[in-house]
Symmetry: C2
Subunit: 612 residues, 2 copies
């Protein structure tokens, strides 16, 4: 372990090898309800470094799990077999934007929104648009084959990557694909690596296909009394030749959630559709008429549309705030992100959601269902008490029934988030012999199984081991902590990582430990006694500037500063005070001066510190 | 060999195992300038049969090369290591069209036009559209990742396949993908198998994604004085946000060819663009204005557009007849289909074509260049005398320079036809380490290398062996044959296979031997003495009904009936007459009655024949 650390430091520099458990705990989870701690966290800054790390790790059979922003929802970036977390967020350069050839070359750690901001200057955009665009990295999107609300028109990440630079497990660096719009030269390796969640090789550069920005947009909203009518309208609209840029469906539970939490005024019918049309203004306006006609035929209610970006924003807000709203719905309850993104045939949307509502009633577990109706991708979302073992049992039953429903309809167990860790128990049933073929490809490209082991069902059909459930700690919450008051606020954090976009200390360090999400996580592990108080832990809380940028950006609006201040107090009571703070306090008490030295002495000291 | 034949007959029935060399020669080539004879031709009718054939062949390490309509242009379907040609054209059922879910399930042997005719009844279409749509099979399209003029808007075959049933080399049958619009469940096996040209497994069923038919179409034509201006207009139009359904470029040579052969009245400028727009009528009409403005800025000439399908047809005719026109250009000359479909960055189109013209001048080989400008896919087409060893030497030099030009520009050595056999010498340079990764995947999925061996550069970097050049036989044309008069007509056949769509005897047998292309091929091999006269050969010529359907459909308009009649005469001179014909002739001479029997006798005979 010591030599491992030293050897890695030789490759990436000592500031890029992190071994303290306080730091590592911040990399032990994401949105999934699982938890796995790594042995080390390593930042690579170049393809060469990635290559050397893999060569080194492969020889010693040390697991390597690649991570971008950690916005995965299926445990894809959790180090299941410990080993190295390889963080690529410091590889964040936009290398080329070639407007006239419609491609951009970027490093894997670039955040999607940064790419699109830069492309917009050229009148271009990269269409796949996961909800986490403000934080997620393009490398993570490629690893997941991510998409979002626009997939119905624009497809998924795998449709928008022309070429990749990949490092194989033995350190070989190669390029798959070409920076041209079309290619049929050999096996489609680009598509094989996209969506492979770091199990086959590591993506160190991406050539993205980009498109001109649409010239006009309009957003439609319409309500339906039955899910069948909402679902059938989706099909009718598509068959009529309308090609919407987005087509989102929310069930009644979702509308209730949004109304309650955001004081919106949705009708609370069985089905609510938001449809975005983009392109030529005249064509969009004609299509709006077609959409209206189709919806009216299915008894659509309160049909409305707007091309005012501000009004559209309000409509999309209802959709965007949905996930965080669910998290805010009931104090002490959390979203249980499992079986959360199946793909089903479009024509079965209404039926499937009604069946899901039946499952919800049967088990007494609230499920809010929304989704990308235009591509049959739904998000049934369970809301449960994570400290209730009863609820956890029900979650397992509901999960199984949701997956059975999907398989029965010939669907895909994951339409956009990937199998990762969460869906492993259903990989065999969902993939059949395909899983064996995947295993053979995995074996030939990663014979020692060091690349993100324990994922996709490639080496095990199990996902749960003792101690790997994130919420297990709730059974051991310290009664003695003042922080206990904030337990529900802490578990409201569903670890989406959006705060990475705004936290000033994270922006400087690129380390989760000094990010809002990391601090809330540490508060959770402190409260559940999974981590002991230490100078290092105190440092993590103390580095927070209490600026509250995170609270502004946080989907469920968590007041991280209060959590941090309370944790600091609890730590002080336990005898942990920052030596600098302590010295200042003592000086003030003793000298009425925070420095404890007079001006002349301070000047001398400053000179020795090379400040002046 | 005898037991092989018997065992295969047990699997597929005796009528589906073909071993006669006359038949097999008809499967020894396609549009590429190469020739390889198989040991057997086998038709499979079910997935189970394919599975049993592979199990059998894999155990005995017998090569299996899968074939659809044989419209490949790169030697992809040639049995390089002999063995079995597995013909899937009898698996030609459209199993399901699911309008409301936008998919269709089809067998691999269905011809593309048949699929689209059936889809059109539901207002749907399958967008990828190779020029061979009248004959090519969907399985072949998937194996090649075929595209066509519409790829600029609609993408290629790999973008339109949701799921595949695949038979692995050990006979395992499995499904990759799901019949839903979006999936991120595990590695993208669908895309891995699409474009793999039968090297990884055999596709026995396809779930196609389909789209609503566009509601309106318009076609634009415009000429440019320089290739740079034509090329830049392409980029300008795309950057302006116009999303054309097709965007075709022809150089001056192409315009001359079309004008000369079809009496069209094209301007004969350096560059000619045909652009198709589809979708909403108002949007298309606005886009036409944008296109006009962009072209005028680049000194476009004779800008014209039409939404009259008949007029548009005339414009597209110029594009469609181009390939056959090239074949008709000069008696005794042929298109040399090599280095024929590179992909290059769109912005370098003009430069690249000018460079190609330089290569043409340097070597004194006519090259006509056209292509799908919107996706940087160009088709430089050499026109050469195939019996000139001088020309053949030049062809090799030109091919190498064309490929060097592509590699220099970071392009793809094949944008739509695949590497197959033809591009093997450039696979290493074009793919680099990717080729090694492909080899590893190949090795794990086909350890005995029986699936289409000798292709894609997976097992050899060479493509030429003694005796495998199609036109070699021209050195041995029999002076004694009357057929010699038709030599130029025979080599005008570039073996595109379009006649499969119309030949009545082929329609009945599904065997190339009784198709126009097969008969012309046999005439060629007879003339070049690569096949000896035999009863079987005579039968192939005699089964032609001389209906001339093929001539009507044949792109270069070859009068197959004259070739066949002349071959029959040559064979008669050599003592080969059909025994039935001979008997009829003798009876007429002797009895003045073709039957040689009186009515009562014929009635008795008919009874024994169970005709009555």
């Amino acid at each position: 372990m010591e030599s491992l650390k030293e050897n890695l430091k030789e490759i990436v520099g000592k500031e890029n090898v992190i071994v303290n458990r306080v730091d590592l705990l911040c990399y032990s989870n994401e949105m999934s309800p699982f938890k796995y701690e790594p042995d080390l966290l390593v930042f690579a800054k170049t393809t060469q470094e990635v290559s050397r790390i893999l060569q080194y790790a492969n020889k010693r059979k040390i697991p390597v799990t690649t991570r971008g922003a950690g916005t995965s929802v299926v445990g894809a970036v959790l180090p299941r077999k410990r080993g190295i977390i390889l963080d690529l967020t410091k590889m964040d350069k936009i290398k080329t934007i070639k407007t006239e050839d419609f491609y951009a070359i970027v490093e894997p750690g670039v955040v999607l929104d940064k790419i699109n901001k830069n492309l917009a200057k050229h009148g271009l955009f990269f269409p796949p648009d996961p909800g986490s665009s403000v934080a997620c990295t393009i490398g993570g999107m490629a690893a997941t084959n991510a998409s979002g609300v626009r997939a119905v028109k624009y497809g998924t990440t795998k449709d928008w990557i022309l070429a990749l630079e990949i490092v194989l497990v033995d350190g070989t660096i190669f390029k798959a694909g070409h920076p041209v719009p079309k290619s049929s030269s050999g096996h489609s390796l680009v598509q094989l690596f996209v969506g492979s969640q770091g199990t086959l090789g590591i993506i160190t550069e991406l050539t993205l296909k980009v498109a001109p920005l649409p010239r006009y947009r309009a957003t439609i909203s319409v309500f339906f009394d039955t899910l069948e009518n909402a679902g059938r309208s989706v099909t009718d609209i598509l068959i009529a030749g309308v090609n919407p840029a987005a087509m989102e469906l929310m069930d009644k539970n979702c509308q209730i959630v949004v109304n309650k939490v955001f004081n919106l005024n949705l009708l609370e019918t069985e089905g609510f559709l938001i449809i975005e049309l983009d392109g030529n203004e005249k064509a969009v306006k004609e299509d709006i008429k077609v959409v209206e006609e189709k919806c009216m035929k299915r008894n659509g209610k309160n049909f409305a549309w707007t091309d005012d970006p501000k009004k559209a924003e309000t409509l999309w807000e209802a959709r965007k705030v949905l996930v965080p709203s669910i998290a805010k719905m009931r104090a002490g309850y959390v979203m249980m992100v499992l079986a959360e993104d199946p793909g089903i045939p479009i024509s079965e949307l209404g039926d499937a959601i009604r069946e899901i509502q039946g499952i919800s009633r049967k088990h007494g577990i609230t499920i809010a269902t929304f989704g990308h109706a235009g591509d049959g991708n739904i998000h049934p979302t369970m809301i449960v008490d994570p400290s209730s073992s009863e609820d956890w049992k029900k979650v397992k039953l509901v999960e199984k029934e949701l997956m059975t429903l999907v398989l029965k309809r010939g669907g895909s167990i994951s339409a956009e988030h990937g199998i990762g860790l969460s869906k492993i128990p259903f990989a065999k049933a969902g993939l059949g012999v395909s899983l064996d073929v995947m295993k053979r490809i995995k074996k030939t490209l990663d014979p020692n199984n060091i690349l993100n082991p324990g994922k996709l069902g490639l080496d095990t059909g199990e996902r749960e081991e003792p101690g790997n459930l994130f919420y297990e700690g709730l059974a051991h919450v310290g009664e003695e902590f003042e922080l206990k008051r904030y337990k529900n606020e802490i578990i409201k954090c569903f670890r989406c990582g959006i705060c990475r976009a705004v936290c000033p200390t994270f922006d400087y360090t690129k380390l989760e430990t000094t990010n809002a999400r990391g601090r809330v996580l540490l508060a959770y592990f402190f409260l559940t006694k999974e981590i002991k108080p230490s100078e290092k832990l105190l440092e993590a809380f103390n580095k927070c500037t209490l600026c509250m940028h995170c609270t502004m950006a946080c989907p469920p609006g968590i007041v991280v500063s209060e959590i941090v201040e309370t944790a600091r107090r609890d730590m002080a009571k336990m005898g942990f005070t920052d030596p600098v703070h302590k010295a200042i306090a003592e000086n003030v008490m003793k000298h009425n001066n925070p420095f404890g030295l007079d001006a002349a002495q301070r000047l001398e000291l400053a000179k020795t510190l090379e400040v002046l």
